[in-house]
Symmetry: C2
Subunit: 135 residues, 2 copies
Amino acid sequence: MAKETSNGYVLRRGAGFRWDDAPDEPYKSDASFRGVRRVNLAGKRGESTRFHLRYFEVEPGGYTTRERHRHEHVVMCQRGEGEIRIGDEWHILQFGDVAYVPPDFVHQLRNRTSEPFGFLCLVDAERDRPVPVEE
Amino acid sequence: MAKETSNGYVLRRGAGFRWDDAPDEPYKSDASFRGVRRVNLAGKRGESTRFHLRYFEVEPGGYTTRERHRHEHVVMCQRGEGEIRIGDEWHILQFGDVAYVPPDFVHQLRNRTSEPFGFLCLVDAERDRPVPVEE
């Protein structure tokens, strides 16, 4: 199906969790993370949803930026196994597990396994900028 | 982890795509569908997200209501294989495939396989009521 938003679309997942018509994008431009790729799956191609759906994948040994912000995260594991920090606690995430990060909670995701760790991250379309957190 | 929204939460997926602390709920109360269960995964337990995350599962031979509404759907297959109708076209959905239903497009999901078909459905928290479509 052609990717015409006005007529709907279907994005096919291919090998290695890569999608037709939804390319990998840089996660961030700084050095606060390691081994993370992102794919914007929905919400940025002409839809008017109040949310964005993104897929992130963390390489073995990788991690996302430790940060906080006012907007909430809903995370759902899709591939492999990883960990999420919410506030001061770390929780293991496996396929199908859902995590919620409340406003202003410090959070981070990491992969201490030998396989890729992939997860969905849902956010409001209108949201504040993340603030990195040093420790 | 206890399900305390103010401190974040993690919902563990168990066998058969059932989650702790997120029970099955009735899909609808009419006879417009067959063999569908739903689970509210995020957005209805005190979060202030502008979206809701739901999991639906359609039994072999089952289908959701044929309907239309102003709000958009973002669908992502999680289990088995099914089909989604967007407007006049049917598309196969397998694990990881994403589909977008634009405003007012007639849509329906069905399972013509012998295994359960499970998918996420993302919607705006504020949305209009679906209108069943006869044919």
